[in-house]
Structures are given as structure tokens and as C-alpha cells.
């Protein structure tokens, strides 16, 4: 069949300027393939009226229908029966199939008057579904498969030794292991080509995500079977909601859905994001990528700017009730889960908005009784209006607190893990715009009226900032130099802050504990349990420091820090050549540092440290890509139970140490046995060889002493006898007369 005009590709190789306007011809010769049946709807549920009232009814109906699409009286057919009565239904032709669809969507199931409810369907649909035989007249109960027990998805938490799992992706294979501290991690399974791009744990560790060109897959349970799949073709990134109920998949390329796609509908065609319900594996809603507001070409250099997509673009509220996306410079759209309808059917217009963050925990503000979620956002200076940071509560959409700021170059929002504080790191420029300095605006969210504390003692630019998880202390890294992509890493300084001690309840003002100058550090990794922090230099060519700090050191506290709620102590410094990634295990006992082949090819592999920075293991692995600890869900123990355990820790650790010892002995035994065997094999081989050699020497009439073997035992300390010879040589001799 020759292609119709509709099927011709938009871009057919002509220069758009030369393209002629064919629209009039197109209209004239356009072939209506569906013979217009698509434009018909069937309206049911109309009142039954006599012939003479029919006119009136049609008119009334049309008045309603024309709100959805164009139609007119002679395009409406309302049949009458022998008694001249209408029969409660009508056929209406619209101008186009789209209008017909719109009419069916709008009016189906809506009341016509007090007694009548309309049923509006497309004629083709009635034909498709309503024809005889299409739908069985009798009811058949749907077949429900026998119940079969599924794997327990949280089985790994029941490990008798309470060990943690980790996944390693190296070369083409992905392996899951039990952490065995100093010893080789115990391999649970290893699968070649398990993922095509990378692996990722779900936030609570229930699933392992693998990424394929056909989409994302989740795996779990002791058999590591495929539990869910999300067929998003060309999927590049995934993001699972905090409670693991929903998943966002994103592809750079818009999805192309074909008619017969078994999973996706035309709804997803041309979209980049799909938000899925994990349990049903069904898409909830799909979206296109926003065009980024930032310029595509650098003004100064004329070079195209590499666009970085903000990830995650859809941010989950802490309880998975909402998911929100920002349209930079304009608005935030908040969707209610699981229906994914826009909250109050409107987006929230915030002019100039640059970034927003949900509180990472459901906030419990003093004086606020009802349910709320908080989000923090900021807008830059627009004209004469100052820059603003705002806190908004959802679903009320009220601004809880705002703060005006001046001379703002950039701002970053940092929530504390319990949502108790949000620190806004504000990079401010001087009037001349030449130098930068950073202020910290700390919103005390839980306190009445949300007071804001300002830390403006920092003279330099802050390049990194991190709150202590579940705590109220923080670490930041500053640099005097503008961070540029140079070979020499910038000199940085690391500062530690904590609240002052105050009488009574509450948290004192934030005070600097100490600043460590002349570092190259650029990354901060807090232990998930707080207290310990690793400050590191990653992605560097020259410097690979890992500094292990303790903020509650149990030793003596310097006099100068007596008013502070911390006792800072550097426990250890390590050095991992080429380190690119650092990951704490979920219990905060171990730190894994890795050098990934994705970043460079030198000495790829990982190190494992204890929380105090003692190197437990190092392993070089060719083509090492990822090491990720399996996260753990929140503990089920009550506060009291936890306290009890902490109190009896000594008794527990005695048991654990004993277990460790037994385990160690067992493994050592195996190694020793193996070595014993190797050694005896070698010695046997040597004895044989020596015997043969002696035999041969005898045959040749030589002595049977073998070079370098018999003297093995003597002189073991290597202290050879040293003979020094002094040779005196007379060069010249003459007499000198002294007067």
C-alpha cells in the first residue's frame, strides 16, 4: 500500500524553509481510512420521550455535548419505535475521532438530569466489545492459581551470626557475599551478565535491582529469583521509594510503544519517566523529561554545556504518600500516591524555584498536631526581590517559614536525617562578585516558630557539607580556591561543628569544634549510626587520604571543648590508592572503600576498614566496578529493648568473640591443613630430586655434596664474618727540620 500522507515522516529530507505548504491539497486528497466510524459515539440512558418532544431533547443534549466537541443536529440520530417514542439512546457523529474520545471520557457516567445517567461509548468500542460472543453471557469465575509460598524477602536478616551482605560487580559478573571481616567474603552466588549496566539495592535492602536494555528487574529471597520486572525499554536510571512500594524508571530516550506491546500502553508513548507500583508491576503514570531551563550553550566560551539531569527528578516524601517534581524556575507538581493524581489538581507555582527537598522523615513539630509533610525550597534573586528559602507543609500547602537572603550565587539544601534541622548552605558573592563566602542558615524545624540560626563565621566557599545521621553535629569542607578541573587538587580545610552545651532541654547554638587546614579532602561519609565520620579525598589523582574521626572520643577532653557536646579525635588515617567510592555497612561497623574501573584503571579493587580505620582486608580485582552493602530495614526493637542491649553489650560481645574465635580456628585449620599438604609435597619432591641428583653424581664419579642445600640450617641469622684488611702503603718519606 502506498503510504498515506499521514504516515510520511515529518522530516523527509527537505530543508524546512523550502518546504511548500500542501495543507490545502492534503485536506482535499486525504483518505479517511476508518470511514469516520471512529467519530461516532453511542449515547445511552436518555429519557424516553414522545416524537414531538424529541427535537427539544436533541437540542438539550447537543448543548451539553458541544462542550466536548463539534457536532450538530443533523449529525445526531435518535431512533423512534412504532409508538413514536424515542428509545433512550442516540447516535452522534463528531467532527473528529479525538472529539468523540473526549466526549466519551467527559460524559460517560455523568448525570443527564435527576433521573437519568448517561452512558457514552465510542461506536467502534461497542462493536469491539459488545458484539455477540465477544463477551461471555455466563459468568465464569476467574482462575486463581494455587497458593504457593514465596521466598521470604527478608531472609538475610535471620543470619545466625547477624552478618551483613554486600554485592560486588566486577568484570561481567555480579556476586553477593556475606561479610567475613578479615577473611574472604563468603560467596552466596555469582551470576555472569546479571546486569547490563549496574546494580542497586532497594532502600530497605529487600531487592537487588539490575538494569537491562529491556528494563529494570528486582531480585530477592534466598533463591535470588526474579521477583518483579519493569519493562521500560532503554531504562537508564531507577529510583525506589523509601518504603519500596513504588519505583521510578527513567530513560534518556523517550519510550516508543508499539500497538502490540504486552506491558505498556500508548499512554507511555513518548515518555521518559514511568512511576510503577512495585507489587502489581503496573505503570501508575508516565512523564516526559522537562527541558532544562539552563542555557544549552555556555555564554562565555560558546561551548555547549553538558546537561546533567537532576536525579532523582521525582522526589518521594518520607512516607511514600507524595511524589513531587520541580519545573525549574516555575513550579512544583505534587502527586498523591498511589493514584498519582495531582494534589488539589494544581501545580504549586513558585517563581524562580531552583531546588527543593522533602524532609527525610515525617516531621513532628512542636505545636503541630495533624499530619503534615514538609518540603524546603529556594528561589534566587529576581529583579529587586531578594532570594528566598521557604518551608512548605503538605497537603495544606502553607508556607511555614521563609527567609530572605541577599547576594546569593547558589544554595544547597541539607536536611538532617530525622528532619529536625535543614541547613541551607548559601554561597554569597561580594558586591563586586569577585569573591565567594558561605553562610549556613540552619532552620530548627522542631522548635516553635522554626527559628533560624546563622553561621557566618566561614570565610571561604563550602564545597561539601554533611549532617550527622540522627544527630545534631555536622562536618563541612571549605576551599579558598575556585574549584576547577585542574590536575592539582585544591587545598581544602575540614571543619567540625556541634551545638553548645546548654542547661535544660533543647539544643544550643552551633559552634566550631576544630578546623583542620591544608587537606585535600573533598568528601564526607558519616557512619549511618552517627558519631563516626570518614573524611576522604576521592576521585583524585594525587591524594587518597581517609581520615577516621570520632566525635565522642572516650578519652580526656581538652579544656577548650568543655562547653561542646563533642569530643573530637582523629582515630586513624589510611590511604587507599585511587579510591572512588566509600560505603559504610548498615550497622556502622565497617567501611568499604573501592576503586572502580568506571573511573580509572589503576589498582581496581576494594579495601575494608573497621570503624576506627583499621585495615581489615584489601583485594585487587581486575575490572572491579561496584561494591554496595545491603541496606537493612529499620529495627523492630523498641527503644527500651535497644537500651537493654546497649547495657548488656559486654556480655553479648563475650559470646560473639568466642564465636569468632571458633570460626577463625576452623578456617585456620583448613588453611593450615592445605599448607601442610603443600609443604610435604614440596619436601617429597625435593627429596626425590636430591636423591636422583646424588645418584647421577655418583655415576659420574663426583662427590655427592649438593650445592646450596646442606648448609641451609647454619648461619641463619645472616651475620657473616666480616674481615677488614688495612693495607698501609708508604707513599713518600722526607725529613723536616724544626728549628
Amino acid at each position: 500500500m502506498a503510504p498515506s500522507y499521514n504516515d510520511l515522516p515529518e522530516d523527509n529530507g527537505y530543508d524546512s524553509e523550502e518546504e511548500l505548504d500542501y495543507s490545502d491539497l492534503q485536506e482535499q486528497y486525504d483518505v479517511r481510512l476508518e470511514q469516520g466510524l471512529d467519530a461516532f459515539v453511542v449515547i445511552d440512558g436518555l429519557p424516553v420521550v414522545p416524537e414531538d418532544s424529541k427535537q427539544k431533547l436533541v437540542k438539550y443534549l447537543l448543548k451539553k455535548l458541544t462542550t466536548a466537541g463539534k457536532t450538530k443536529e443533523d449529525a445526531t440520530f435518535m431512533p423512534t419505535n412504532d409508538q413514536g417514542m424515542t428509545q433512550g439512546y442516540a447516535f452522534v457523529e463528531f467532527k473528529s475521532p479525538e472529539q468523540a474520545i473526549a466526549a466519551a471520557k467527559t460524559f460517560n457516567g455523568t448525570p443527564f438530569d435527576k433521573k437519568h445517567t448517561l452512558a457514552v461509548n465510542k461506536l467502534t468500542d461497542i462493536d469491539r466489545y459488545g458484539r455477540e460472543g465477544r463477551v461471555d453471557d455466563e459468568y465464569h469465575a476467574p482462575h486463581i492459581d494455587e497458593f504457593s509460598e514465596k521466598d521470604h524477602l527478608r531472609w538475610w536478616l535471620g543470619d545466625i551470626a547477624g552478618r551483613d551482605q554486600l554485592v560486588m560487580y566486577r568484570g561481567d559478573s555480579v556476586g553477593v557475599f556475606w561479610n567475613k571481616k578479615k577473611d574472604n567474603p563468603e560467596n552466596i552466588l555469582d551470576r555472569k551478565n546479571w546486569t547490563e549496566f549496574f546494580v542497586q539495592w532497594s532502600p530497605q535492602g529487600t531487592f537487588l535491582t539490575t538494569i537491562h536494555t529491556q528494563g529494570a528487574q528486582l531480585w530477592g529471597g534466598p533463591s535470588w529469583s526474579k521477583t518483579h520486572k519493569f519493562p521500560h525499554p532503554g531504562c537508564n536510571l531507577v529510583d525506589i521509594s523509601p518504603s519500596e512500594k513504588y519505583i521510578t524508571t527513567w530513560s534518556f530516550k523517550p519510550i516508543e510503544v508499539t500497538e502490540d506491546d504486552p506491558f505498556l500502553t500508548l499512554e507511555e508513548d513518548g515518555k521518559n519517566y514511568i512511576i510503577w507500583d512495585v507489587a502489581t508491576e503496573k505503570p501508575l503514570r508516565s512523564f516526559q523529561t522537562h527541558d532544562l531551563a539552563s542555557p544549552t550553550v555556555d555564554d562565555a566560551t560558546g561551548q555547549p554545556v553538558k546537561k546533567k539531569i537532576p536525579w532523582p527528578a521525582f522526589k518521594w516524601s518520607a512516607d511514600d504518600k507524595y511524589v513531587a517534581r520541580m519545573l525549574e524556575g516555575q513550579s512544583i507538581s505534587i502527586y498523591e500516591l498511589p493514584k498519582m493524581n495531582l494534589l488539589d489538581k494544581t501545580t504549586i507555582k513558585i517563581e524562580g524555584i531552583r531546588d527543593f527537598e522533602w524532609a527525610p522523615a515525617v516531621p513532628q513539630r512542636e505545636s503541630v498536631k495533624g499530619y503534615e509533610q514538609l518540603l524546603c525550597f529556594w528561589t534566587p534573586e529576581i529583579g529587586s526581590n531578594p532570594a528566598k528559602v521557604g518551608l512548605m507543609n503538605i497537603p495544606a500547602k502553607e508556607i511555614v517559614r521563609t527567609r530572605n537572603l541577599f547576594n546569593v550565587t547558589d544554595a544547597k539544601l541539607h536536611w538532617q536525617s530525622q528532619g529536625a534541622y535543614v541547613c541551607v548552605k548559601v554561597d554569597r558573592h561580594s558586591k563586586s562578585k569577585k569573591s565567594l563566602a558561605t553562610n549556613l542558615e540552619i532552620f530548627r524545624v522542631k522548635e516553635k516558630g522554626v527559628p533560624v540560626e546563622v553561621v557566618d563565621s566561614i570565610k571561604d566557599t563550602v564545597i561539601n557539607f554533611a549532617w550527622e545521621p540522627k544527630g545534631d553535629r555536622f562536618v563541612l569542607i571549605t576551599t579558598t580556591e575556585v574549584v576547577a578541573a585542574t590536575a592539582v587538587p585544591p587545598k581544602t580545610a575540614v571543619s567540625f561543628f556541634c551545638p553548645e552545651k546548654i542547661k535544660g532541654a533543647g539544643v544550643g547554638n552551633f559552634k566550631l569544634i576544630r578546623t583542620i587546614e591544608k587537606k585535600n579532602s573533598n568528601a564526607i561519609y558519616w557512619s549511618p549510626k552517627g558519631r563516626f565520620v570518614v573524611v576522604a579525598t576521592v576521585h583524585s589523582q594525587q591524594s587518597f587520604d581517609l581520615d577516621f574521626w570520632d566525635l565522642d572520643f572516650e578519652g580526656e577532653k581538652p579544656e577548650s571543648d568543655k562547653d561542646l557536646t563533642a569530643n573530637l579525635q582523629l582515630m586513624n588515617t589510611a590511604d587507599h590508592y585511587g579510591v572512588t567510592d566509600i560505603d559504610w555497612d548498615p550497622t556502622g561497623r565497617y567501611v568499604a572503600t573501592s576503586a572502580s574501573v568506571w573511573k580509572h584503571t589503576m589498582e581496581n579493587g576494594y579495601h575494608l576498614y573497621s570503624l576506627s580505620g583499621e585495615l581489615l582486608r584489601e583485594e585487587h580485582i581486575e575490572k572491579f566496578k561496584q561494591l554496595l552493602w545491603r541496606p537493612r530495614p529499620p529495627t523492630l526493637l523498641s527503644r527500651d529493648d535497644q537500651k537493654q542491649i546497649r547495657k548488656n553489650l559486654r556480655d553479648y560481645s563475650k559470646d560473639f568473640e568466642e564465636q569468632d574465635r571458633i570460626e577463625e580456628d576452623k578456617e585456620k585449620g583448613a588453611i593450615v591443613e592445605e599448607r601442610r599438604r603443600t609443604l610435604s609435597e614440596w619436601l617429597a619432591w625435593r627429596a626425590n630430586t636430591e636423591e636422583d641428583l646424588r645418584e647421577e653424581r655418583r655415576e659420574m664419579g663426583l662427590d655427592t655434596e649438593i650445592n646450596g642445600v646442606d648448609d641451609k640450617a647454619e648461619d641463619a641469622d645472616g651475620e657473616g664474618e666480616q674481615i677488614e684488611e688495612l693495607v698501609e702503603e708508604v707513599l713518600d718519606e722526607f725529613e723536616e727540620i724544626v728549628s
Binding site: 593450615v672 603443600t678 630430586t689 636422583d692
Partner: protein
């Protein structure tokens, strides 16, 4: 103990050899001179001048009377160790990459390069261990390597076999008298040259190093690979330590293969492996170029390494080295 740094050469080192007593060591470099040093204090004893090309190799007879050297000037020279006088020049067709005296010192083999239409060969000369004797100029035997040229070669116990390592990674066993090829075994990865071959004290087994990042201990009798040591860098040299059951390996990324050459990335360290258990047990840093040659004192007191950086570093083992023993070895020693 602090190593002694010998700064006598101006070009990359090519080979180091200790005398049998271990009191003197000889080093060759691409700068055309041979240096002799006291191993105890690093004092230079003397130099041997005469070669007209880069020196590749040196060896001393077991009585420390004659010194043999091979160079890119297509000659093997014999020297009076004591006086430094050249007593004989043996002309060959191409550059000489390796010389080695037989166990009793009465024969010398020389490995020649494949070049200018000549195939790689192993040439054997009869030697009289006497500085005043007239040495024969004619080879007693010539083995031609038509498959893949030999890069290194040496004499087994009782001069029974000549063992050669080849450019293709294989190892050959030739009859020490007839030169007949008895066996050829692909010990290393195909196409990865064997870079060094050194003997155990009794010459019943030897160690080979290769660009394939491994070193192997192989039996001279049947070319059976007994041990394999896996590293993460191409190897240039490997040696077997007497007295202790270790091996020392050296190598490093060649300068042309690394983009940024910090000593760390180049892996310019001497690596100690346990000879029997194949575990790495230690590393010694120091050179800032690849290690080209490592030699160990036949009396087991120390070792010397020569690098692309032009330095020789002489190390004396300390107590910890001699005391180091695996638990099972201690058991063995007690029982």
C-alpha cells in the same frame, strides 16, 4: 636495614651477578661498562672497559677467576677478574643477550639476538679457567632457535641440559652435550616473552619471569611447572633465595605503557613470595623505574636490584627475614 645505593651507572641496569661467595657483585648497564662492588659496604672495586655497545649480561665462573660479558657490539669478552684486563674477545654475528657459565665453569653459553638475517642462537664455548691460557675462538656447539628466538638460557645441574626461555613465552630443554631439542613447553602465556631465568642453588629447578605478570618455578628434568606466582605487573626478573624458601620478583609498567608515572602506579617494587605456598609476603620499595634485574647473594645474606632508573640497591636481610616462618614450617622444623 637501609639499602646501599650504588650510583655507578648512567644508564638502565641490565644484569647483576654475585660471586659464589657473595662478597663481590658485578653489574652491567647500557652505559658500556661493567662495575664490580663490595657487597658488604657498596664500595666500588673497579670497572671493566672495552665494550663498544650496551652491555646486556655478565657472569662469573665459580672460582671468581674469569668474568664473561655480552654486549650489543656482537662480542662476548672474557676478563681477568683481579686485574680488569680483557683476556679474550669472542666475535659473534649479533648482539649477545645472555651469558652463563656451566656449574663447573668449563663451558660458557651465549644467547644471540635474531637480527640482520641471522636467527637467534645459543652458542657454547669451551673455557679454561685460567687467565693466562689460550681460549678457543671457535664455538663448541651452536643451537639455532628457528621457532621463536631465545631471550634467556642457562645450564642445568651437571651441565646435563641447556634450558632456554623464548620470546613466545615457552621454555625449551636442550641436551647439554648434543644441543638436541628435547622438550618445549608453553610455560607462560603465548606471545609474552620470558624475561629472566635463574637457578636454584643445586640447579635442579629454575624460576622464569615473564611479561604475562607471572613467575614460575619449573623442574629442569621434565619442565614440570611446580609453582606459579601471580602478580599485577609485567615482570622483568625473578630469583630464588637460598636458605629461605622465598622468591623475589621484580618488574613494573614500562614507561611507555603508563600515562602518569608516579612510582606508585608503576609498581616499581621488589616482591617477595613464599616459594612453596605461592603467597606474597612482602614488598620493598625504592626504585623509581621498573626493576630490570634482581640477584641474590648465593650465601643468602642479601640481594641486589638494578632498575631502569640506573641505580643498584643492595639490601642485607635482617633478623626478621630469617625468622619469618609459616606455622607449618615451624612444625616441620621442630618435628
Amino acid at each position: 636495614m637501609r639499602p646501599i645505593l650504588l650510583q655507578g651507572h648512567e644508564r638502565p641496569l641490565t644484569q647483576i651477578k654475585y660471586t659464589k661467595d657473595g662478597d663481590i657483585l658485578f653489574s652491567t648497564a647500557k652505559d658500556q661498562i661493567i662495575c664490580a662492588w663490595f657487597s658488604a659496604n657498596g664500595e666500588r672495586l673497579g670497572t671493566y672497559h672495552g665494550h663498544q655497545g650496551a652491555l646486556w649480561t655478565v657472569d662469573i665462573d665459580p672460582t671468581t677467576t674469569l668474568l664473561a660479558s655480552g654486549a650489543a657490539d656482537n662480542t662476548v669478552r672474557l676478563w681477568d677478574v683481579r686485574t680488569g684486563k680483557c683476556v679474550k674477545v669472542l666475535e659473534l654475528n649479533t648482539a649477545v643477550k645472555r651469558v652463563e657459565f656451566s656449574e663447573d665453569g668449563t663451558q660458557l653459553l651465549a644467547v644471540t639476538e635474531k637480527r640482520m638475517g641471522f636467527l637467534g642462537t645459543i652458542v657454547v664455548f669451551d673455557i679454561k679457567i685460567d687467565v693466562d691460557a689460550e681460549q678457543s675462538s671457535e664455538p663448541a656447539m651452536t643451537i639455532t632457535c628457528d621457532e621463536s628466538k631465545a631471550t634467556v638460557a642457562g645450564w642445568s645441574y651437571l651441565s646435563k641440559y641447556i634450558i632456554a626461555g623464548h620470546e613466545d613465552g615457552s621454555v625449551s630443554q636442550y641436551d647439554g652435550k648434543s644441543g638436541e631439542l628435547l622438550d618445549n613447553y608453553p610455560a607462560h602465556e603465548d606471545g609474552m616473552p620470558v624475561t629472566d631465568l635463574q637457578w636454584s642453588p643445586d640447579r635442579t629447578y629454575f624460576i622464569t619471569s615473564s611479561k604475562d605478570k607471572t613467575a614460575k618455578v619449573i623442574s629442569a628434568r621434565n619442565l614440570e611447572v611446580l609453582k606459579t606466582y601471580v602478580t599485577d605487573t609485567p615482570l622483568n626478573t625473578a630469583t630464588i633465595t637460598p636458605k629461605k624458601d622465598f622468591v623475589i620478583l621484580g618488574g613494573g609498567q614500562a614507561a611507555i605503557d603508563v600515562t602518569t608515572t608516579s612510582s606508585r602506579q608503576g609498581k616499581f617494587e621488589a616482591r617477595f613470595y613464599h616459594r612453596i605456598f605461592e603467597d606474597e609476603i612482602g614488598r620493598v620499595k625504592g626504585h623509581f623505574g621498573p626493576l630490570n634485574t634482581i640477584a641474590v647473594d648465593p650465601q643468602g645474606r642479601g640481594y641486589a636490584s638494578g632498575g631502569e632508573d640506573g641505580y643498584v640497591r643492595v639490601h642485607h636481610f635482617d633478623k626478621g627475614y630469617f625468622d619469618f616462618m609459616y606455622e607449618v614450617e615451624k612444625e616441620q622444623a621442630r618435628g
